[in-house]
Symmetry: D2
C-alpha cells in the first residue's frame, strides 16, 4: 500500500481527495493536515467521512509528513504550495500539487499573473498533469502540476481542433460556467448561499488567472501561439463546469468529421466520453466522476465550430485528476479507484 498524505485537507479539494483515496485499493492515508484543525478528528470537520476515514488532522510540517508518507497531494492555496513542496521533493516524495504553482513552463508568465516564484528550479521537472496530452511524461514524473479546473474543461474541448489546425486561432472564445465549489471552502460573503442562490453572473471577465494556463497548453497543442478570450461564470449549483467553446473554421467541416476527429484523438483515454451526435453534455451526467463529456456542433450559417465540454470541477477538475496522475506515476491502471458512477439525480 502506498502511503499518501493530503496536505491542506480541510477544503473541498482536500475532502474530494479523501473521498477517492478512502476507497483506492492501493493507498493508505497516513496524514491529513490543516493549520486550523490541528489535533481534531477529521470526522469532526467532515462528518460525512465517519466510519470511513479515522484520522486526526496534523500540522502541515513537511519533515514530519515526509517521514510518514511517500506520496503527497498538496491541496493548498497558490504560494503556500511552493513553500512546502521543495521539502517534500528533497525528502524523496512524489508530489501532485493542486495549486497553480507548478503548472507553468515559463516562470515569467506565472509571475506576471500570480506572484514571484519561490521554487523556480523545480519548474523544469514539473509535468503538466493532463494525461490526455502528457501521459508518458506523467508516468515518469516526480512532481506534477495538476491543471486548473477551467483549463481542463477548455483544453480537452479544443485540443483536437487545434491539433488538426481547423480553427482560426484569432477567433477562440471560452465561455465557461462553474458550480460554486470552485470558489473553495473559504468563508466569504460572495460564497454565501443567499448571495449565490437563484442568481447567475460572470466574473473576472478577461482577467481570470486561468487564461495564461489555457493559452500555454493550447499553444503547445497547436504548435503556434493561441490567444483566447476566457469568461468564467458562476452557476447556482455545487459541482460542475460546462465550457462552451467557439472558433471560426478555416474550411467547412461536418459534425461527423468532427466526431471522427475527436474519436481518433482520444482513442484509448478512458475518461473521455463523446456524446451521441445530436446530444450535448450536461454537468449532471459527470457528477462525482473523472469523466470529461464532449459534444460538438457546427454553425454552418456563421462558419463556427462549437465544442461543449462538461466535467465535475472537484473530481476531473481537481482531485480525481490528481488521483489519475498518481495512478500513472505509480504505473497502476489509470482508472484505479476512479471507477465511480455518476450520482444522478
Amino acid at each position: 500500500m502506498l502511503k499518501v498524505a493530503v496536505v491542506g485537507a480541510s477544503g473541498y479539494t482536500g475532502l474530494e481527495l479523501l473521498r477517492l483515496l478512502a476507497r483506492h485499493p492501493e493507498v493508505e492515508i497516513v496524514a491529513v493536515t490543516s493549520r486550523e484543525y490541528v489535533g481534531k478528528p477529521l470526522t469532526s470537520v467532515f462528518p460525512a467521512l465517519a466510519q470511513i476515514v479515522a484520522i486526526d488532522f496534523t500540522a502541515p510540517d513537511p519533515e514530519s509528513i515526509a517521514s510518514q508518507a511517500d506520496f503527497i497531494f498538496t491541496a493548498l492555496p497558490h504560494k503556500a504550495a511552493m513553500g512546502v513542496i521543495p521539502a517534500f521533493m528533497q525528502a524523496g516524495c512524489q508530489v501532485v500539487d493542486l495549486s497553480a504553482d507548478f503548472r507553468f513552463q515559463d516562470q515569467n508568465i506565472y509571475e506576471q499573473w500570480y506572484q514571484p516564484h519561490s521554487a523556480p528550479e523545480l519548474l523544469s521537472q514539473a509535468v503538466y498533469g493532463l494525461p490526455e496530452l502528457y501521459r508518458e511524461a506523467i508516468r515518469g514524473a516526480r512532481l506534477v502540476g495538476n491543471p486548473g479546473c477551467y483549463p481542463i474543461s477548455v483544453i480537452l474541448g479544443l485540443a483536437p481542433l487545434l491539433k488538426a489546425d481547423l480553427l482560426d486561432p484569432e477567433t477562440i472564445i471560452a465561455d465557461c460556467k462553474s458550480g460554486v465549489s470552485g470558489a473553495g471552502r473559504g468563508v466569504a460573503l460572495a460564497s454565501l448561499f443567499c448571495e449565490v442562490n437563484e442568481g447567475f453572473r460572470a466574473y473576472k471577465v478577461a482577467e481570470h488567472r486561468h487564461t495564461p494556463e489555457i493559452e500555454q497548453e493550447l499553444s503547445r497543442v497547436a504548435g503556434y501561439a493561441v490567444r483566447v478570450t476566457f469568461t468564467p461564470h458562476l452557476v447556482p449549483m455545487s459541482r460542475g463546469i460546462l465550457a462552451t467553446l467557439y472558433g471560426h473554421w478555416h474550411h467547412p467541416v461536418t459534425e461527423s468529421e468532427l466526431y471522427q476527429l475527436y474519436r481518433d484523438f482520444y482513442q484509448g483515454h478512458p475518461f473521455i466520453r463523446l456524446c451521441r451526435p445530436g446530444s450535448l453534455p450536461n454537468t449532471a451526467f459527470v457528477k462525482g466522476t473523472n469523466f470529461c463529456d464532449l459534444g460538438l456542433r457546427v454553425d454552418s450559417r456563421t462558419g463556427r465550430v462549437i465544442a461543449v465540454s462538461a466535467i465535475d470541477n472537484l473530481t476531473r477538475g481537481a482531485s480525481g485528476q490528481a488521483v489519475h496522475n498518481m495512478n500513472l506515476m505509480q504505473g497502476w491502471p489509470e482508472t484505479l479507484g476512479l471507477e465511480v458512477v455518476p450520482l444522478v439525480p
Copy 2:
C-alpha cells in the same frame, strides 16, 4: 380603468402578467382564459393569488372576451396566438402578443423557422415591442409583437455597439443562460426538478428559433445584415437570463468610452441600468423587475468587447415588457405598475 384580458393565463407568463396587472393602478382584469381550467377559480390553480385576484378561468373565446375587454394580452403558444388575434383586432381591441407570431417583418423568415403564418396581413401593422428601439411606434400601435426573452437580452446588450458600428459583424456571439421558467409550465420530463437541479447544459445550439429574431433586430439597428451564433443554456434556477455577448472591435476602445456610448444610447429609458464600472450584472439583482442591467468589458489582449446583460426572463423578458408596451400604447407613464423592487435575496 382599462379593461384587460389575459388569454392563456395558466402558464408562467400568464401568472406573471397577473402579478403585475393586479397592482396596476389603471387596469381592471376582466377575463383570464385557459382551456384546461375553464370554470375553476384562478386561485385554485395559483393559490399565491388568493385575496389578490378573484376571478374564474373562462374559455378562450375571442368574441366573448372582446365584448368584455378593451386590451388583450395573448400569452398563448406560437400558432395558437395568430389563431385568435385577428378576431380581437377586428373587434377593435388593442393586443400585445407574447408569442413569436407577430415579431417578424418578413413572413418568409417566420415561416422558415416556425410554420405557415395564418394572419400575414397583420404583420405590417404589428410593432416589435422593444421600447428602447421603437418607443414612438409602440405608442401608436394597435398590435404589438412582444419580443422573445433571449432576444431582449441580446439586443439591448449589443444595440449601442452596432449602432456605433464598433464591431466586426462577422464576429458576434451571444452565449445566453436562462432560468428554467423559460421552458414554460408545460409538463415535460426535461423540466422536472430532478432533471434540472444541480446540472448545467447547452441546448438547441446554433438552431434556436430566437436566432432570426435577434438577427432581424440587430440588422435594423446596424443598418446592414448581422449574423450571430446564438447558444442558449439552462441554469438550475427559476428566473433570469444572463447574456454574454462577444464581438471583435474594428478599432480599440476603452471601457469608459463604451460606458459613455451606452449612457447616451439609453438616456431617458427608465428600465436600463448600467453597472458601475468594474462590476457586472447578476440576474439576482433584477428579479421580478423590468430592469435590464448592463456591464461592459474590453479584452484588449484579444481585441474583443464583451457586453453582459441581465434580465428577469418572465418580467423584462415577457410580461413586464408586455405591460410596459401597454403603458406606451395607452399614453401612460412608462413605469406605471412596474415600479417593483428586485426581490433580494
Copy 3:
C-alpha cells in the same frame, strides 16, 4: 412624508426594509447606517437597489440619526439594539426594533436565554408587534418589539386553537423549517452555498432562543402556561418558513369546525389567508409578502390537530411585519406599502 431611518441596513432584514420602504407612499428614507460601509453608496453594497434608493451609508450615531429621522427601524443584532434604542426614545423617535431585545415582558426570561438587559426600564412600554394579537396596543406604541420569525409562524398557527382551549397544552410541538436567509448576511462557514445546498438538517433542537418567546405569547393567548417543544430546521432555499404544529385535542373536532374557528379569529386581518380545505400552505406562495397562509388537518386516528403555517421569514417574519407595525403606529391603513404580490415562480 414620514422621515425614517434604517439602523443596521447592511443585512438581509435591512435590505428587505429598504425594498418595502422604497415604494411606501408615505415614507422618505433619510438615513441608512452600517458600521462596515460608512460613506459608501448603498447601491455599491446592494446593486439591486440602483435607480431605486440613492443614499450613502452613515455611521450608526443615534444623535445624528435622531436629528434627521422621526421613525427608526433598528435591524441590529441582539444587544446592539438595546444599546442605541434608549437614545432614539429620548429624542422622541418612534422605534420598531427587529432584534429580540424588546420582545419579552419578563426581564428574567430575556436574561436567562440572552444576556443582561441594559435598558430594562423600556420593557414595560414596549409592545409585542404582532398585529393579529395586539393591534390596538401597537397603534398607541412608541416602541415595538418586532417578533421573531419562527415565533410569528408558530403563534399565528396555534393562537386560535389555544384561545379556544382545544388542545392539551402538554402536547404541543412546533416543527419549523426555515430558508437560509434566516441566518442573516454574516459571513459564516455554515452559511456557505456548498454547505447548505442539497442538504437538510435540524439545529438547536430544544434549545433555540425563540422558544421562550413562543411560550410567552402562546401562554398569553391561552391564559395559562404553555410549553412547547420547538425544533428548527434549515431548508436549502433563500426565503420562507413553514411551521408544522401538533397538539392533541381535548375532544374530537372536524376540519370544518377548525376552519370556522380560524376564520372567526382572524376576521378583519388582511394578511392572514386560510387555504382552501384540502390544500396546504407552501412557502413559495407567500414569497416577498406579508401574508401568513394557514392550513388545517385533523388526524382522527391519533386524536391530533395539525396546523401548518407559511410565511416569508424576511417579509412577514421581519421587515414586512415591521412596516405593518409602522403603519399601525402612524394610523395608516395596515396594508399601505405592503400590497406586494407573491413572486411565483
Copy 4:
C-alpha cells in the same frame, strides 16, 4: 457472477440500482426493462451511464427475463409489481421488490390503504427487508419486500426507544422531509423545477400510505400496537430524507443513556452511524450511500425525546437497501458493492 435483472429500470430507483450494480463485484446485469423504451440503449435514456453499462432496454416479460436472470429487482409501481413477481418466483428466481406490494403481513391493511392484493399467497413468505431488524430472516428469504423510504427513516430512528419501552406510545410523531426524487421520474406538474424550487410544503398529512407500514414495524419492535402521526414534507433538493421523531418519555433519560442504548441496539450493523453527541444528522452527509445517520436529543423541559435520522431516499431508502438485501440473500458480506463514500459537497 450472479445474473441480475432490473425490472422497471427507467425511473430513479431503477437508475440508482444500476449505479450500484454496475460496480458490484459479484453481479452481472443481464436485463433492464422498460415498457416505454423497449429496444433503446440504456445510455440514450441515461447518458450518465455511458461507458459504464452497455445494454438495451427490453420488455418486462417475466418468462424471458427469468430465463436470463437468477435475481430480480422489481422497481415497478405498486400493483404492477405483484402482477409479475409470482412468475419470477415460480421460475425459481430470488426477488427484491421495491414496491409496497410485499411489505405487509396483514393483507387487510394492504388492501385498506392500497388496493386488492393479487398474490396474497406470497405474503407469508415475503420478508420485510430491513436488515437491522430482520437480518437472519432476509438471509433465508426468496422474496423480500424492500421497505418504503420514509418508513426506513422512521423505524431506524425509533426502534431502540420502542424496544426499550421508553416512550408513551400515544405520543409519537414522525415529521419527515424528503427530497424531490422521492416522487419518482413520472412527468407531473407538481414535480416541475419551477413548482418545487424555492418552496417548502407538507403533503398528504395524516393520510400518507407509509403510515401503516411504519406502524406495522414499530408495533412489531415494541410488542404492542403503536400509532404515529406521520407528516411528509417536500424539500427543494434532489435526494435525502430527514426524519424528526418525537415521543414523550415514561421516565426521564439522559442523552448519554440514549446514545448507549442506540449503540447497543445497532452494534454490528455497518450502515448505522451515530452522530457525535452535540451534533445532528444532515442529509448531505449520507448522499449516495446506504448509511442511516442518527442523532438524539432530550427536551427535559417538556419530557420529550427527539431522535433525528438522515438517509438518502434513493440509496438507503430504496436501491442501496435492495442491494444490501441481495447481499444477505446471497450470503455475501453486507457491505459488498455499497462501500460508497458520500458525495460532499
